[in-house]
């Protein structure tokens, strides 16, 4: 097993290095694409922020940088673009290693890590230098520390770091409650909450920043730019006076739905808390204001975790073929439709929005299909019975 872990991490490293070295222009091309880069996560804004910080200029005055200052401080230590790209590749390698450890504990195989290592979406996201890498590093570390190390404090501080980097993800702290079990449950819960809050306040107080520029932009979708998500089209079409209302509705929809999912799957005897967490991750990726394909890549890489202890929830899925084809078409056609709209001018924004809806449909179908599998397993009492036919009422 040791060998395969090493080879998996090496493969992840090799794929990314080869791409970066063979195609030096690929990174900036991907950073310009709407699929892998958003105004709040792009490599350009990271570089801009580091430049402003190094020259002690007003970091958030220009309205270009929306990244939290500690991330930029970290970036300052690296030497230029080469250093930053190296960091991104290393972060991905660490994620792969964490995934191997996570899976070895649960399952004895390392499929997640393999998928993460070679998945074109995660690979291209890494090459594009999207800062989601750091968000997902903290998320995976949080999962790793609670599942493998059983370390609640570390896990909760990682959740705090994740929320610090991307406030849209902060609701993922809710499904983490499901992991808390055993004696002294109340004390642990309090400890968990206190750690998150304290870490969050500490992170903020080390280096304070204007909340509206950094978090406000993300939460209120201040920079309306096309992306793979569901938000942008509504807000370019909508009358000015309705925008604040619908922004709150959209946020409520995105974050609020995590609560029922968490509550429904909170019982550990029936459902693995990890499954509930992954479903919530999928939901957030589907509905957040600035999603990228890289995040979907992470979500897809986590799917083998539904296949642990010889119990396969994925086999309950009813239309995986259909979903896969939708995904393929959505992802392949989105750059083409964007090209028709922006470069050639023969298409328009409806084209791109239509294809991002196809993509969202695929993601939504995948989530509901897996959720169906989880509920089916619960119905079957933990012993899978794939032959039994059931339909929803």
């Amino acid at each position: 097993m040791k060998n395969s872990v090493v080879s998996c991490v090496l493969l992840c490293l090799a794929v990314r290095l080869v791409l970066v070295l063979l195609f030096p222009g690929l990174g900036s091309t991907l950073d310009q694409s709407v699929e892998f880069s958003t105004p709040v996560t792009s490599f350009r804004s990271l570089q801009e922020g580091i430049f402003l910080l190094k020259h002690q200029l007003g970091l958030y005055d220009g309205g270009v940088v929306h990244l939290p200052p500690l991330l930029l401080q970290l970036g300052c230590f690296t030497g230029g673009e080469t250093g930053l790209r190296t960091i991104f590749i290393l972060v991905d390698c660490i994620i792969v290693w964490l995934l191997t450890q996570l899976e070895l504990t649960l399952n004895g195989s390392i499929r997640c890590a393999w998928i993460y290592g070679v998945n074109p979406l995660t690979v291209l996201s890494c090459v594009s230098g999207s800062t989601i890498a750091f968000t997902y590093l903290s998320l995976i570390t949080a999962i790793y520390s609670i599942v493998v190390k059983r370390n609640l404090t570390l896990s909760s501080s990682m959740i705090a770091i994740m929320s610090y980097l991307d406030p849209c993800m902060c609701v993922l702290s809710l499904p983490m409650f499901n992991f808390i079990c055993g004696p002294k449950k109340l004390a642990k819960t309090v400890l968990y909450m206190v750690t998150i809050v304290v870490t969050g306040i500490m992170l903020y107080s080390i280096c304070p920043f204007p909340l509206d520029v950094v978090y406000g932009t993300r939460l209120t979708f201040a920079s309306v730019a096309p992306n793979m998500g569901l938000w942008w089209y509504f807000f370019i079409e909508m009358f000015q006076e309705f925008i604040p209302f619908f922004k709150s509705v959209f946020n409520l929809f995105s974050m609020g739905m995590v609560i029922p999912i968490t509550l429904r799957f909170h019982d550990q005897r029936n459902t693995n808390p990890l499954h509930c967490l992954i479903l919530c991750i999928g939901w957030i990726i589907l509905t957040k204001p600035y999603p990228t394909l890289g995040e979907t890549g992470v979500f897809l890489s986590l799917l083998p975790l539904f296949d642990i202890d010889g119990i396969s929830i994925l086999k309950y899925m009813r239309y995986p073929m259909f979903t896969a084809l939708l995904f393929l078409h959505g992802i392949l056609l989105s750059p083409i439709f964007y090209h028709l709209w922006i470069d050639l001018g023969s298409g328009n924004s409806n084209f791109f929005y239509a294809i991002s809806l196809v993509y969202a449909l695929a993601l939504g179908l995948l989530i509901t299909d897996i959720m169906w599998g989880v509920i089916r397993l619960e119905y079957d009492g933990g012993k899978p019975n794939y032959t039994r036919k059931l339909t929803q009422v």
Binding site: K315, R318, P320, M321, L333, G345, S346, Y386, K389, T391
Partner: protein
């Protein structure tokens, strides 16, 4: 979801799914047939629409055109001067095809430049050692802020390689005539390139990247093509197909057609001969639709007329060509088309956006929009997906087991992509006749391999099935991606490649191996990308292509015009063909893994 559930329940009660899955090969064929039917019914009454000017500002032919006989003498003067730059072989033979040039392009440009400067056109020369220099001039708009421009383009040689004397003289005369009008709110750019192909393309690219003298963003471009020194012609031909499936906004084509017909000329599209111009019945409309599909598929590869050079820069462009040498219509009438078009475009306050960018023309005044014809290409793409599913489901080897064979298929797919990529790039560097022969014979050898090795080599059955399903899925994805960019090309290649899906597995235990193999080989022979392109061009486009001419044309279209037809052939079609050939090798069955849960699950997935 309620309706969906009901339908699903009904379907599973009737056992519909297994039946459908068994019928997948037939379903795939039916889907392809339906897609052809969808195209064929388009020319029927009620299926198509009449064109209309969608942008109200255009108002074609609403203003009186003053470019009339009074300008004729000036035009003749310019033309006589231009005539002195070329020489005919003898006094009697003044056919433009046999003329040759007697002054250098610098001298010609110097003369034209002096004329242009006389009436206040700012001129500059774009130097290019490869394609030849291009002279262009900007006439600044008396009104407006000068951020937008209209281009009038006169290549010295037209698409046929003849001297465009009439067009050039007309262009200069029009520039002189335009310079006296105070109405222009967009700059007017006149361009004199050596040819309508790479010289013009290079100028357009330079205009957007490196030139110093520019006149703002180009809204529309009109290429004038009036070869010869005659005063009269018979009818006007309009070319509108751009590169890589691009079309000008239908409004531009509409105003061109409406103005031309308003001036009393007949309009021909897609090289329709003069005697067919007034015919309007089902067959003539079907013919024009098919010609349109052919011309759009081969745009850039076949004869280039000049409007193609503007593709990819958000410029609406078309070429006006005066056809015939006798006839009653004089050259100033031809000049009134660009005049009225310029006045129409001049009225625009926004970029062209009102009308359709995706359309097929059935006559000059009838069209179908994308929603009518796109389903047929989508269905063809679905037909491939169904064939792919057929190879996945109609087999004893379920997808969940036999991971090793799926991996082998994946590697084969990657290998076919690498091979195709290598072939495409070798040809970009050199397309000699020898290379083309080598390519075709290489393809033939690959094709014959399964037939020859019938008795010698076997591969495992699940591998061939996986290879085929992956290949067809890839092709389906490719054609879906292509069909919005270039409907005609996507439709043509998916249709031409369709015999691939008739290929069947050949097992060692089959009774008549040789007959099966022969059938497979025949299917693959007609669906090979190179043989079918060769066949199509030599049968339907034999005026432009003889024998192997199409291959150098394909690669030079990329090198000179950035037209990616060659790469689509190599990167979409060729890999699938290679994979399908590989899948016709004689197969041996492998033991079937019986896994109840897996089996059931597969059924459920479906």
């Amino acid at each position: 979801m309620g309706l969906f559930e009901t339908v699903q329940r009904k379907a599973s009660q009737m056992g519909l799914l297994p039946k459908v899955i068994r019928l997948l090969p037939i379903l795939s064929m039916i889907t392809a047939l339906v897609s052809i039917v969808l195209i064929v019914i388009l020319p029927m009454e009620g299926q198509y629409r009449r064109t209309y000017i969608s942008e109200n500002a255009l108002m074609p032919s609403q203003a009186y055109s003053y470019f009339r006989e009074s300008e004729w003498n000036i035009l003749r003067g310019y033309r006589t001067q231009l005539e002195s730059f070329i020489k005919f072989p003898s006094e009697e033979n003044i056919s433009i095809e046999s003329a040759y040039e007697i002054v250098t392009s610098q001298d010609r440009f110097a003369t034209i430049k002096s004329w242009l400067q006389e009436f206040g056109v700012k001129t500059a020369t774009y130097h290019n050692n490869v394609t030849g220099d291009t002279l262009y001039g900007v006439l600044h708009a008396p009104r407006g802020d000068g951020t937008e421009a209209m281009v009038l383009c006169m290549p010295w040689h037209n698409g046929d390689g003849d001297f465009n004397i009439g067009g050039t003289a007309l262009g200069i005369n029009l520039a002189r005539y335009f310079s006296r009008w105070p109405i222009w709110s967009k700059n007017i750019i006149v361009v004199f390139s050596e040819n309508p192909k790479h010289a013009l393309r290079a100028w357009v690219e330079a205009y957007h990247t490196s030139l110093d003298l520019t006149g703002g963003s180009i809204e529309s471009a009109i290429v004038l093509d009036f070869a010869g020194v005659n005063d009269f012609f018979e009818y006007t031909e309009i070319y509108y197909n751009g590169l890589n499936g691009e079309l000008p906004n239908l409004d531009l084509v509409n105003i061109a057609v409406s103005i031309t017909e308003h001036e009393g000329m007949k309009v021909s599209l897609h090289n329709l001969p003069q005697n067919e111009l007034s015919v309007n019945n089902y067959w003539s409309r079907l013919k024009l639709i098919l010609l349109g599909i052919k011309d759009a598929s081969l745009a850039g590869v076949k004869k280039v007329h000049g409007n193609e050079a503007f593709s990819g820069w958000r410029i609406q462009s078309l070429t006006l060509k005066a056809c015939g040498t006798s006839g009653k219509i004089d050259i100033t009438t031809f000049g009134r088309i660009p005049e009225a078009m310029f006045r129409s475009v001049n009225n625009l306050l926004e970029k062209f956006h009102q009308s359709f960018f995706f359309y097929l023309l059935l006559t000059t005044r009838n069209f179908v929009s994308i929603s009518s014809y796109l389903p047929s290409a989508v269905l063809l793409s679905i037909a491939y997906a169904l064939s792919s599913l057929n190879s996945i489901f109609n087999t004893k080897y379920s997808l969940n087991s036999y991971i090793q064979y799926s991996t082998i298929a994946g590697i084969a797919w990657l290998a076919s992509l690498v091979v195709s990529f290598a072939i495409s790039h070798v040809f970009i560097y050199s397309t000699t006749k020898f290379n083309c022969v080598l390519l075709l014979s290489g393809n033939l050898m690959v094709l014959l391999t399964p037939l020859v090795t019938t008795k010698a080599a076997y591969i495992k059955e699940p591998i061939t099935q996986r290879i085929r399903s992956l290949g067809f899925l890839y092709f389906s994805l490719c054609s879906t991606s292509l069909l919005m960019l270039n409907f005609s090309f996507a439709f043509s290649i998916t249709l031409l490649a369709f015999p691939m899906t008739f290929v069947k597995n050949v097992n060692t235990y089959d009774k008549n191996i040789f007959k099966l193999q022969l059938k497979n080989t025949l299917c693959l022979l007609i669906s090979n990308p190179f043989t079918s392109v060769l066949f199509i061009t030599n049968v339907f486009e034999n005026k432009s292509f003889n024998g192997l001419d199409v291959f150098p044309a394909l690669t030079s279209a990329w090198n000179e015009l950035n037209c990616w037809t060659w790469f689509v052939l190599c990167m979409c079609w060729l890999p699938v063909w290679l994979l399908t050939v590989a899948s016709t090798m004689v197969t041996v069955p492998v033991p079937v893994i019986t896994n109840d849960s897996t089996e059931n699950n597969t059924k459920k997935n479906m």
